[in-house]
């Protein structure tokens, strides 16, 4: 009975396909009425293959190889010495967050393993990063999260007119001597502007970040930031974040998947190696029952 019903279905399908194939409309290009005619074709912009000269030019850039770690004690110090010029509403929220943190109830600035986002990654990260140069691009790769990644285009392109908002925005850069100047727009309004892991609020849109990144000493990298966040700051905020270099191979950056911390590795009843959710407090701590 089941076989007969399959046979009938296939016969019906064949008949329909045959009718479609021999109908006049299938043999001719579709005729669109003027109102739905395709938009004029925009020329496709190609990313050209790098030349030998492009690679040779990379060798002239300053040496930023190695693993760069943040100077967290300086991040801590700047909370008091160089706070952002919060507007009145933002200041109240931040003061409340500090009070909550002091009371042992740190607000969840980072939750669900979302990226810290730009520029907060530069401002408060506790983890290492590495910086790669390739023709037309500088790439920053952060430890501890597969999406902690910045693509900075140095091929002369402009920002898109209306970039899709993302956690790290759209970045274009150029070299002024040994300083990389980076301009970033298109950051998600939900991305926090944070000054610690427990104090930060959504930028609420229209954030613009300008960075001047350069070696201050042989193994010290400075990221000079100017952060324009008109929805939460009264004026542009300037700050410098310090990273120090390590070259020992044992400190090479390793893969880190943030959400992995929400699971335990176990072997199930079938003998399969699986991830099992762990129970946590509202602050994300693993706690045994």
């Amino acid at each position: 009975m089941q076989y007969r019903s399959y046979a009938f279905s296939y016969a019906l399908l064949f008949a329909v396909l045959t009718i479609v194939a021999i109908s006049p409309s299938a043999a001719q290009p579709p005729q669109h009425p003027p109102s739905v005619r395709a938009a004029p074709k925009v020329p496709t912009i190609i990313n050209p293959a790098p030349t030998a000269q492009d690679w040779a030019d990379i060798a002239k850039l300053p040496d930023w190889s190695g693993v760069w770690n943040p100077k967290i004690t300086d991040q801590d110090a700047q909370i008091k010495t160089n706070p952002p010029p919060w507007n009145e509403v933002a200041k109240k929220k931040i003061d409340h967050m500090f009070a909550e943190e002091k009371a042992g109830r740190p607000p969840l600035v980072f939750f669900g393993c979302f990226p810290e986002a730009h520029p907060t990654w530069m401002l408060v990260t506790h983890n290492a990063m590495e910086i790669l140069f390739t023709p037309g691009r500088v790439t920053m790769l952060g430890e501890s999260d597969g999406n902690r990644l910045r693509r900075i285009y140095t091929d002369g392109r402009p920002h898109p007119d209306d970039p899709d908002p993302t956690f790290h925005g759209h970045s274009i850069g150029h070299w002024e001597g040994d300083t990389l100047v980076v301009d970033t727009i298109g950051i998600l309004p939900q991305a926090p502007l944070a000054i610690s892991e427990a104090a930060g609020i959504p930028n609420n849109g229209d954030m613009h970040v300008i960075e001047r990144i350069h070696l201050a000493e042989k193994d010290i990298l400075h990221v000079d930031l100017e952060i324009i966040a008109p929805k939460i700051l009264t004026k542009p905020w300037k700050t410098t974040r310090i990273f120090f270099r390590q070259r020992a191979r044992k400190f090479d950056i390793v893969e880190g998947v943030c959400v992995q911390g929400d699971y335990s590795e176990r072997v199930d009843a079938n003998g399969d190696h699986v991830f099992v959710p762990v129970e946590k407090t509202i602050w994300g701590n693993i706690v045994p029952k």
Binding site: G104, P106, S144, I220, R266, T281
Partner: protein, 141 residues
């Protein structure tokens, strides 16, 4: 055998039930720990979870000056940072090893959790710490 059974029980206790788990913050601040206090536990390692964003060590034992025993979970920074903080690897300490751990407990004292400050491995006397701010200089070896 008894120890094995107890470890298995502790492991089971560590794994939450999938149902009812809220959206949690894997990556978090550390002020839910009371850093003004240091407690010491002597016990047996149940598990070292070498994962991002926070490595955790669970120890089954007794707090100093207490007769109550149980499994405590101590959290730390990330694997990469612990390597840089000095001496750590995912096999630094193994299940079943006797250890002493100094830690700052959670402010919510109903929960057996804390932030690890110092781990001493009884058999070797090796001491491991977890302070990432102590490693802020270029070219560390």
């Amino acid at each position: 055998m008894k120890r094995l059974f107890r470890s298995a029980l502790a492991l089971t206790a560590l794994v939450g039930v999938a149902a009812g788990i809220s959206s949690v913050a894997a990556h978090h601040s550390t002020t839910m720990f009371d850093h003004s206090k240091t407690l010491t536990i002597n016990g047996t390692v149940v598990e070292l979870r070498w994962v991002n964003p926070h490595v955790s060590l669970s120890v089954d034992g007794k707090l100093k000056d207490s007769e109550e025993s149980g499994v405590w979970v101590m959290e730390m920074t990330s694997p990469g940072n612990l390597v840089r903080a000095g001496g750590w690897s995912r096999s630094s300490v193994k299940p079943g090893e006797k250890v002493e751990v100094d830690f700052s407990p959670l402010r919510d004292t109903s929960l057996k959790g804390g932030a690890l400050k110092k781990l001493t491995i009884a058999a070797t006397g090796q001491v491991l710490t977890a302070n990432i701010r102590a490693q802020e200089m270029p070219g560390l070896e």
